[in-house]
Every structure is written in C-alpha cells, then in structure tokens.
C-alpha cells in the first residue's frame, strides 16, 4: 500500500520538488569572482562514484584533488582522484588523472606517461615531498589500500608504498603531512573512516519506503587513524601507538596539521563524522595529548558531536593564531571555532555569519583564502547531500556551493552571486591554487558523480604578494612554515599546510591579497626548523622564492 508508512512518515517524507534558494544574502558587494573554465582549459574529468543501487556508503563520499608542480616547471598541475566501481575493482581501469599545466590556461592529460593513474577506489590525496629529494610525491587515501606514488623527478611516478612501509588497508579518507617531531622530514597522518565490508553490508531501510538505503555512520565501527613517522630516505614507521594516538578511532573525514598555539610544534585536528572531532596537542616529545573535548573544538555549542567533513585552518579574526573551521551536515550548520589561545576554542558559528548560510546544506570541501583580495580570509564551502532524496524540506541532493567573504574580524557574509551562475551540484573535495599565477586564488571542485569544475578567479581589485619556499632539509617545501605579512592595516598570517579541506591538498605556496592602497612593511617567515627570515618592504604583484637560510 503506497501510503501505509510509519507514523514518522509525515515528518520524514515531506520535501519540495522545486528548488529553493539557500539561506543566503541576495546582495553582493562586487561582481562575479569565480568563473568555470574546465572545458576551455582542457580538463575533462568525470567522477565515477560507482553507485549501482547497492547503496554502499563509499558511493556517497566523492573524492579529492591535489595541486602540485610535479615537473618543476613553476606551474601547478592538477591531480584528480577517481573512485570507480564499487565494490572496488582495480582491473576496471577507473584511474586517477594528472593534468599538466601548460602555462597558458590550458592543461594536458599526462596520466599515462607519468604513471600516476592509480586505479584504486580513490578518496583523498595529499601532495608533498615524502623522501626529501625535492620532487613532490603523492599519497592516495583509498578505500581498499592506500598508495604512495613517488616522483622520480623525470616526469614519472612509481609506486613505492610497500618499500616506504605505508599503504594502510581498509577505508582511508584523507591524509596530511607535517614534521610533527621536528626532525626535518615530513610525517604522515591518515584519517580513516569506518570499518566496512561490502560483502557484509547491513540492510538499512529508507524510513519512507522501507527500501535499501545508505546506512547511517552510526551503524559502523570507526576505523583507527594512523600516524606514520618519517625515518628518512623514504621509509616510514607506524607511530600511532607510540605517539599516544592509539585510541583515535573516530570516523575521520578531514584532517589538517598546524601549530595551534604558537609553540612551533605541529598539532593535529581531525573532523569526524558523528563522533567528536579530534584535537591532538603535540607535547613536543613525540607524543600527543587528546584535548579534543576540553578545547571546545570537538562538539557543537550544544555539546553534541556533529557530522564533520572538511576542515580548514586560518586566522580569520586577525589575532595571529589559527582558527578552525569544519563543514557539517544540514541543520547542524558549519562550525567556526575561534582560537582564543592556549587550545581554547569558542564556537563562533552563529554570530559570525559562518554557520547560518549552511543551515540547509551538507558541507564537504572547505577552503580559506582571500578570494576577493581585500586582505581578509574568505571561505569557499563545497556542498551536496549524501542521499538523493533527503527527507527534510528545503534540503536537496544538489546544492549550491557557498562563498563567504570574510571581514578580517571573524565575520562572514555569503555572496552567492560572486560564484558561477551554474545550477546546484554535489560537490566534495576542493583545493585552491593560483594555477595561472596571476595573484588570486583559483579553485578545483570535485563533484560526486559529476564533472570536475575548475573555477578561475578573475579578481581585478587590490593587489597581492606570493611566496614559494624551498627548505634546506628533507622538508623541501617548507611545510609547516608560518608567514606573516605586516602592513599599515595590520598583519596577515598564513601557514603552509600539506593536506586539508576534504580529501584534498591545496597550493603549497603562500598567497596574500591586499586591499587597494595597502602599504606593505615586511614579510616574516618562521621556518619549521625554527629559523626566522625577514623580507623588508617586498614588492607587490609577484611571487618571491625564499630559500631557507643556513
């Protein structure tokens, strides 16, 4: 009988068929900033989520994207993660793809000749120099076996997963790198989701129809995250237990590693799905302290765990420390945890304008960058529901992404009309990069079961300053460095991260936007090894290449 449903039906089944506007302000303070150029750039990539009706949860996760200069020509190339059939079948040939930046706005597919086309069921990716040889490598967080693709330096990659002592099995989601023990090389953290076996997929019913449906994450046991210590020369060891992270079995989705209290020891922050987020404080002795709950950055203001997906860190309120932002499920709203120092965070979502626009959204990818070049960090949020027919009114599978323009004091305003005027999509992993090196933050957006979007920023206001680092040790990219640009209107601080957002890895360079008329006094760089470098009155409108001092 069509209408013989549970009493909850009335509350659960109602939904509009017509699209409604998101809870966003209609007014924009400027013209459209980001323009979709994937087609004209030559990047043709369609994500295959492998959904064939089995309603396996991995089908809902999407995948990530990494920006890296794999061939050292100074132009950032795009590495796009593919998922493919599910249950995974490596022989099906659904491969990740590498697109080489030709420097004129166009890209060419070099997957085959670079040997980077892994065919695992891809989720996340992080790009950094794992072995300290000066070439950027790739770590692939997969469902069913991670991979380390080492850059040979000749434009090709080779799989050195086993040699490196890496390659977690199970369901990895995201990964990040930083020198957590300050021994000069990059250590690896892998956020893993849940224990999942497609052969033993439980039956979860759609409350409306009783048909098979995607299971709630609570059905599955969380998988333990992993911390690998870099032993040098491309070798790693599992340091999860030794570092005190053995109990990190949340349902990890996004991860970043950044120094949250200014002690120069990199801390770890993980967004977990329906379990509280992790904040592991680096004690400086090779171990971490779980300060998740006490920090206030683990749960909502109401004390409830949320469905954490993507993460980002940046100084959004101009006080010089890294605030944290997390994307969540609809109704929960995305969360902005303002860093009040000493690992104390305040949920500033409501009053800041950061949370409210996401009320009807399910957020995934998250990027903090100065998109409009006014000297303040903005936020780009990738949205899209996990189920095709959400039960709540005004909530849809395809959702518009959000561009929240920051005011530098921790406040944000949603300006949808500065995004491409295309329809709503199901976005997942995103990563920023100034791929055309014109001084503004462009964006790659992965769409679950859809075509990749390349959003070119055409900001024509203000000015900018870029910075590329070259470390002297094995951390050749200077991951973990802190840069502070001092101007007559205050300071801007950035951290060099390898891995953040959702399953993604952004431009390793620093990029500062500057409002028109801003006068720059100096640029300070704190290298992860402890050295400080000063660049007095740098010239605007160009990238500087700084080499770590002796």
């Amino acid at each position: 009988m069509r209408w013989l449903r549970s009493a909850r039906w009335a509350l659960l089944s109602a939904f509009f068929l017509v699209q409604s506007a998101a809870v966003v302000a209609d007014d924009c303070t400027g013209p459209q900033l980001l323009f979709e150029v994937a087609e004209s750039s030559g990047i043709e990539f369609f994500h295959d989520r492998g959904a064939t009706g089995g309603k396996y949860n991995p089908e809902t996760m999407g995948s990530g994207v990494a920006w890296l200069d794999y061939d050292g020509d100074g132009w950032l190339d795009a590495y796009l993660v593919q998922s493919g059939p599910f249950p995974p079948d490596r022989s099906a040939g659904a491969a990740n793809r590498l697109f080489r930046n030709l420097g004129d706005g166009r890209f060419e597919d070099v997957t085959t000749r670079s040997g980077s086309g892994d065919t695992g069921y891809g989720q996340g990716v992080v790009a950094a120099d794992f072995d300290g040889d000066g070439f950027t490598d790739l770590y692939l967080a997969n469902y069913g076996g991670d991979r380390l693709l080492v850059n040979r330096g000749d434009g090709t990659f080779e799989d050195r997963t086993r040699d490196a002592g890496l390659g977690a099995d199970g369901w990895s989601s995201s990964a990040a790198l930083a020198d957590v023990d300050r021994d000069g090389d990059l250590d690896l953290y892998v956020a893993r989701y849940v224990e999942h076996d497609p052969a033993a997929e439980p039956f979860c019913a759609n409350p409306d129809t009783g048909e098979r449906w995607y299971c709630d994450p609570s059905v599955f046991e969380g998988a333990s995250d992993l911390l690998y210590r870099n032993l040098g020369h491309g070798k790693f060891e599992d340091a999860t237990q030794a570092s005190g992270l053995g109990g990190a079995d949340g349902k990890g989705m996004g991860v970043l590693m950044v120094d949250l209290n200014g002690d120069r020891w990199v801390d770890i922050y993980v967004a977990n799905d329906m379990t509280w987020n992790f904040l592991f404080v680096n004690r400086g002795d090779g171990t971490f302290e779980d300060s998740s709950l006490l920090s206030g950055a683990a749960v909502s203001r109401e004390g409830m765990p949320e469905a954490g997906m993507g993460v980002a860190a940046g100084d959004v309120d101009g006080d010089g420390d890294a605030d944290l932002a997390v994307t969540n499920y609809d109704v929960q709203t995305n969360t902005l945890y303002r860093n009040d120092g000493d690992f104390r965070f305040e949920d500033a979502s409501a009053g800041s304008g950061f949370g409210v626009p996401s009320f009807n959204m399910v957020g995934f990818g998250l990027a903090l960058a100065d998109f409009d070049r006014d000297g303040h960090l903005d936020a780009y949020v990738a949205n899209g529901h996990t189920v095709e027919t959400p039960s709540r009114a005004n909530v849809f599978y395809r959702q518009p992404d959000l561009l929240l323009l920051g005011n530098g004091r921790g406040g944000f305003t949603s300006e949808p009309c500065r995004l491409p005027p295309e329809g709503p999509t199901v976005s997942r992993g995103i990563a920023t990069a100034d791929y055309d090196s014109d001084g503004d933050a462009d964006m790659a957006v992965q769409r679950s079961g859809g075509a990749l979007a390349l959003l070119r920023n055409q900001a024509d206001v203000g000015s900018w300053l870029g910075l590329q680092l070259s470390g002297r040790g094995a951390n050749t990219g200077g991951v973990g460095a802190r840069a502070e640009l001092v101007t007559d209107r205050g300071s801007q601080v950035r951290w060099a991260l390898a891995g953040d957002s959702y399953q993604s890895s952004s431009d390793p360079r620093f990029l500062f936007g500057l409002a028109a008329g801003t006068s720059v006094k100096q640029l300070l760089v704190d290298w992860p090894g402890g050295r400080r470098q000063l660049l007095p009155a740098p010239e605007l409108g160009r990238y500087y290449h700084l080499v770590e001092p002796e």
Binding site: F16, R301, E302, G303, G351, V356, N394
Partner: protein, 765 residues
C-alpha cells in the same frame, strides 16, 4: 535609536508601536492584495491524507477570499490553520507565507507572530525571528516560551545583553527556569565572564543533569575560568539528553494534527489497528463528504479489513468526486479485484487509471495483473514493461513481468527479468521458484536445481515449497534422474494434497516408472479434489488398464460418461472408453461408442480417426474413408490420417486416389519417411500400371536411401531404376540391397525375393 535598541524593553516598545500601527482597526479586505502570495507547492509526492489536509485548508482560504464580506480575523484563522499544517508537514515556505498573512490580517493575535518567529528562528532567519517574537511578546507579555526563544535568537545575533534580559524575565517562570539559567550562562560566557557563566550553568545542571548542552557549556566555562580539572570532570560525564523547556504552541501542532481524524486514522493504520483506522477515516469522511482522499483512505482500509463492498462503495464515490486522480482509480481497481477477482471491469478501472496517469507505475502494474489474469499475457507484458522502465528498481514489477513472460514461453526474456528480481529479493521464494523455472527452461537445469533447492531448504510457504519440489522434479527428469525426481514429485504432492498439479505430476511420474497401480491411486486423489477433471479420469483409466484392470477402468469411465452432460467432456471420456474397448477386443461396442462421440464432438479428429480405423477393420472402407477425409479437413498436417487413407484407397483397389493422397502428403511433409516409402512403393509397384511411375519414384527412393541407407530403400531405388530401363544401375543398387539385407539379417524369405529381383534385373527382364 541605536541606544534604545540596546534594551529588551526598547525592543518591546518598538514592537508595540509597530503593532499599534496596523492593529488599530484591522486591514480592509481591499488591502488583501498586499498579502504574500502563497507558493505553489508540488504535493504529488505526498500521501493523500496530507494532501487532503493542506488542500482543504487552502480551499478554505480560497472560499473566504471569494466571499463578499469576510472578517479579517476569520481569514487570518484560515491562513493560520494552513500555516500550522504546513509547519507540521515541514512545508517551510508555505508555512511562512501563510503565517505571515495571518499575522498581517490579524496582528493582534499572538499565535501568528509566535509561530512565525519560532519558524524563522528554526530556519535561522534571525532578524525576522527577532521582530516576530518581539511582537508576540507585546501581545502576551511574560510568555515563557517567547522569552526563551527571543533570548536564543538574540544570542545568535551576538546580542548577549539583550538576550540576558529576556532570559532574566523567563527565569521567573517555573517551567522555564532551567532554560533561562542556561541562557544566562551563555550570555555571561559570550560576554567573557566565565565565572558568572559557571554559576548559571551549575544551577541549570542541577535542574537538568541529563542535558549535554548544559554540561558542555559548563565545562567550557570551567576551562575559561581556569579550572581545567573541573572541566575535564564535567566532560567525562557526557550525558545524551537535550535541554528541555516547554513550547506549548509548537507542541500543540503535533497534538492538534495528531488528533485530527485523518492523522489518528493514519497513526492507527501504521500501527496495524485497522478497525480503529477505519472508524477515524469514516469520521473524516463524515466531516468532509466531498473529500476524495478521505474516502480513498477509508476504502483502502476497508479492503484490508475484508469489507469489500464497503471499500468499493467508498472508492467509487472517491473516483466520482475526483475522476482525475489516477491513484483513486488504482485503489478502486484493487478493491474490485479483491471483491470480484480480476474481471474485465477491473481491467477497465486500471485502464482508466492509466489514461489519467500514464506515468503512474501502480496503474501499469494493476492493469498488467488484470490482463494477465484474463489471459491477455502479451498485453500484460507491455504494461509491466512500461512500469519497470519507469522504475527500473521495482523488483516486484520485474517479478510480475518475468512470471508473465514465462507464461508466454518467452523464457530468455523472463530469465533476464527474474534474475534482476532475484537480486533484490534473494530470499523471496516466489521469485526463486520462477527464476528456477526460467533457468530450467533455458537449459540451465543444474542452476535451476540449485535455486529450487534453496526454496525447499529455506523459509518458504508450503505452497511455494510444493511448487519448488514440482519444478525440481521436472528439472531432474530432464537431467535423467527419474528416481530422485519421483521423490520430489511425492514431496510436492504430500505438501499440497489438495493441489492438483503436484498430484498429477506424481501420477505421471509413477506411470513413467511403470508403477501404474500407484499412479491410478494418485489420480483417484486428484478426482477427490476435482471430480469433474475428465483428463485425470481418463489418465486414471489408462493407468488402470496398464495395471491390467481394464474392466475396472471401463466400468469407471462408463459410469462417469453416463453422469456427464457437457458434450465435449462426454466425448473426451467416450474416446478413452472406446480405446479401452478396442484394447479389450470389443470392436463393435467401440465403433458404436465412437459414433456417439463423433456426434458429440464433430470436430474431434481423434474421434473421427479412431472410428475410421474401427470401420476399416470391419471392412466398411467407404465410411472409414469419409471419416479420414474429415480428419484431413480438420488437420491437413495429419500424416497418419493420410497414410491410413491411402492404405484404404489402395485396399479398395483405388490406386490412383491412393497415389494422389500420398503425393499430397509427401508434398506437405517431404521428410516424413513412412509417407515417402508408401509413395515410392505405389509408384514402382502399383498393381494398376497406369498409376506406376518409376521415374517419379526414383528421386523419392534416392532421398529415402540418403535419409536411411537401408536394404529396403536400396531395393526401392533399384526397382525405380529397373522400371526406368536403367538395368545396369538397377543391378548395382539391387546388389547393394541384397548385401545390406544380409547385413541387416532380414528374414530369408525377404532375402530370397531380393535375390530374385537381382536375377531379373541381370537378365534384363
């Protein structure tokens, strides 16, 4: 202005002023044009009851709006009712528009402002929520829920001082104390006063220790107050409860709609209390007799309760009220099918549903089922195909499609559909049985056996297990394992002794195993279930005869025939009885009986044929020829009749007619060896020389030999050659004939004749 707005009292004053400005005399209807247009909401995906509630509320607004004079408050009530219903059913945009209009029309009514404010709060339209709640507070000063709501909104707006005033006011209300204290704590924390916050949160925790929200914020306040250990202790508790405070108006939505007859009916139905559901739906129908959805709901429940007449009555009325609702037609079709079976009228109802809603899968499925039951399988398949194209995930539809394709013997297509159905219903016996049949029919007997065994060993009904045993038995028969097959036939029959197919299957298997007596007993069981099954009666008689009990068989058949009235049934029994009498040597009785049968079934070619044989046996060739001609008329392909006819012509010396009959038969069935052989013989050796035609015989004889290189056929070739004066070849062929006859060890007399012919050919005679 800015200064004034820092105070909650200022907010209230402002709201008072605003309210006064448009509540002084209420708006004239001429101002209704300023009302917010209600959004068009697609309700097609909603269940009929929800649709009915919303449409009914909206209809009320339309009626009042069309009236010449209507009190604004009355129209506001109508808008408010729609708004409340829309809130309850999560129709946010509709709720907002409706409540906004209600508040505009009747600005002095607290409820509309409160609902609007709380909805905006929930949807995070904070400035709007603040305005509405402030107006509500003017109309009902000191209302606890409004104060708490307003305080929370102000906190979200980062206005902790004004929020604190609201919470402070609510603190005086007993039921809202915990929420107020918690809110005050939040205000203090937001102002950067953690010690003050700790005090409020601790008081709130005392009142509601299970509220996770309070403990989380208390822990944060401890932390910020420099008490990390206390914070850790608080965090270690981690209760799972929520902060509770009364919100009577919002809670009343559930109660109100849950107390409506329709909702009560729906709830009762969902809980399986169908009689209660019917009572509630009936009340709804009495309240709104013109509402087709209410009648449909009632009709659907009545079907389930077995009140088929009542159901049909309600659904017919629903269809009359809303002839354009395809789902009502579907319900009516289902009710009629329940009451009367799948009649033509049922099919017509589903056709009407399809007409109105060509994309409605339920209409296609219902129509397909009706057509299938009416034996219109091909048309049924077409409907099912549309349904599964519309919803490829509809495994039940694929199952029906597969079953019907099996009925049409479109086995490969059936297999494809049933394989998909089984993917969705891996344990559903009905799907597995049909899948097994499809596998078996498409040659995968082992796969079929595996699937059917799964049904037998699984949790299937007795009938399904019986069917699985039956299909497995037939499959095993095809695999040559008759002994095991027989066991499954017996299991099938034992499980369903009153179901004929397994019993018949068992009886036939017993016959094949030579156990005719047991077969006859099994047929007797079939006849106990269905005494009019003349087929089973005949088969029992043959089993009895095979078991040597011809007399009993004859007696039973004669008795049965004497009681039958229907000519075709009498004829069927008569034919079997005549056969038994022939077997018993009672030719005269057989012939007389066959004459009766021919009269009863003038188109029965078996009756005519058997009678012709019996008449021929008696020497009455002309009469026999007449009946055989009738057989050939009825079935021109009946080779046996043509052969006997040719024999009778030849026996009567009418060789030309015999030749002609055989030539026609050979032309129709050139591969039929008996016909070709008879034709070759008559062409080479007819006593009537005018009929002989050895040259015409030669190709027939050659093809015979090619088809079967036997001595007899070589001799026919030789005779045709000799008749054509090709003696050397005739000698060669006759030599081969003799040689093969010796190898075949033919009787000496026949060999002798062949040798004589060989000698004649050698001599050229």
């Amino acid at each position: 202005m800015k200064q004034e707005l820092r105070s909650i009292r200022a907010l209230v004053v402002l709201a008072c002023l605003a309210s006064a400005s448009f509540s002084a005399s209420g708006p004239a209807l001429a101002e209704l044009a300023e009302l917010v247009p209600l959004p068009e909401v697609e309700l097609g995906t909603y269940d009929p009851e929800v649709r009915a509630v919303l449409e009914s509320a909206r209809k009320r607004i339309d009626e009042l709006s069309r009236a010449d004079a209507v009190e604004p408050a009355r129209l506001a009530e109508a808008y408010g009712n729609l708004g409340r219903a829309a809130l309850f059913y999560l129709q946010g945009e509709l709720a907002r528009a409706s409540l906004s209009n209600a508040a505009t029309l009747d600005p002095g009514e607290f409820r509309w402002h409160y609902y609007l404010g709380s909805h905006d709060h929930d949807e995070r339209r904070l400035p709007e929520a603040r305005a509405s709640l402030a107006r509500a507070l003017v109309l009902r000063p000191g209302d606890g829920a409004t104060l708490i709501r307003l305080g929370r909104v102000l906190l979200l707006l980062d206005e902790p001082d004004r929020a604190a005033e609201a919470f402070e006011s609510a603190r005086a209300k007993t039921q809202w104390v915990a929420a107020a204290l918690y809110g005050l704590g939040r205000c203090a924390a937001q102002r950067g006063e953690p010690e003050v916050a700790v005090g409020f949160f601790e008081q709130a925790r005392e009142l509601q220790p299970e509220a996770a929200e309070i403990r989380q914020q208390l822990a944060m306040a401890y932390r910020d107050a420099g008490k990390p250990d206390a914070a850790r202790a608080e965090l270690a508790v981690r209760p799972g409860g929520e902060l509770i405070f009364p919100d009577p108006l919002v809670e009343s939505l559930g109660l109100e709609f849950a107390n409506s007859a329709v909702y009560r009916g729906l709830a009762a139905q969902s809980a399986g209390r169908l009689e209660e559901a019917a009572r509630e739906y009936r009340k709804a129908v009495e309240g709104d007799p013109e509402n087709s959805a209410f009648r449909q709901a009632l009709g659907d429940v009545l079907v389930t309760l077995g009140d088929k007449d009542g159901a049909v009555r309600e659904l017919q009325e629903a269809a009359r009220l809303d002839p354009g609702d395809a789902m009502v037609r579907v319900s009516l079709g289902r009710a009629l099918a329940q009451r009367d079976g799948f009649t033509t009228e049922v099919a017509e109802q589903f056709e009407a549903a399809r007409e109105v809603g060509p994309d409605l899968k339920e209409a296609r499925i219902g129509l397909g089922q009706a057509l299938s039951r009416l034996g219109r399988f091909a048309e049924a398949v077409a409907e099912f195909e549309v349904a599964v194209r519309a919803d490829p995930d509809d495994a039940a539809g694929r199952l029906l499609l597969g079953e019907t394709l099996l009925l049409l013997n479109r086995n490969e297509q059936a297999l494809e559909q049933l394989a998909l159905a089984v993917e969705s219903f891996p344990d559903r016996p009905q799907a597995l049985v049909n899948y097994g049949i499809a596998l078996s029919r498409t040659g995968n007997a082992e796969g079929a056996a595996e699937v059917l065994r799964k049904v037998i060993d699984g949790d299937a009904s007795t009938r399904q297990k019986s069917l699985a045993h039956l299909e497995l038995a037939e499959t095993l028969d095809r695999l040559g394992d008759s002994a095991t097959a027989l066991l499954h036939y017996r299991s099938a029959a034992d499980l369903l002794p009153e179901y004929k197919p397994p019993q018949l299957g068992l009886a036939r298997a017993l016959n094949r195993a030579g156990r005719h007596g047991e077969a006859a007993e099994t047929y007797a069981l079939v006849l106990l279930v269905d005494p009019d099954d003349v087929g089973a009666l005949g088969e029992r008689a043959r089993s009895l005869a095979a078991a040597g009990r011809v007399d009993l068989a004859v007696t039973e058949l004669a008795r049965a025939r004497s009681t039958l009235v229907e000519p075709s049934a009498r004829a069927e029994i008569g034919l079997t009885l005549a056969g038994l009498r022939q077997t018993a040597g009672q030719h005269q009785e057989a012939a007389e009986l066959l004459l009766e049968v021919v009269a009863e079934a003038p188109d029965s070619k078996d009756a005519h044929f058997n009678l012709a044989v019996e008449l021929g046996r008696q020497g009455n060739h002309d009469a026999a020829i007449g009946h055989l001609k009738r057989v050939v008329e009825i079935d021109p392909e009946d080779v046996e009749a043509r052969l006997v006819l040719a024999q009778l012509w030849a026996g009567g010396g009418r060789f030309a007619e015999a030749r002609s009959t055989l030539e026609v038969a050979h032309g129709r069935l050139p591969e039929n060896l008996p016909v070709a052989r008879a034709l070759a013989y008559i062409l080479v050796g007819s006593p009537d020389r005018a009929v002989r035609d050895p040259e015409a015989a030669l190709p027939v004889a050659r093809r015979l030999y090619e088809a079967r290189p036997a001595a007899e056929h070589a001799a026919l070739v030789a005779a045709a050659l000799a008749g054509s004066k090709r003696l050397e070849e005739a000698v060669e062929w006759q030599t081969r004939a003799v040689s093969e006859a010796e190898a075949e060890k033919l009787p000496e007399r026949q060999l002798e004749l062949m040798r004589k012919d060989l000698a004649r050919y050698k001599q050229g005679t």
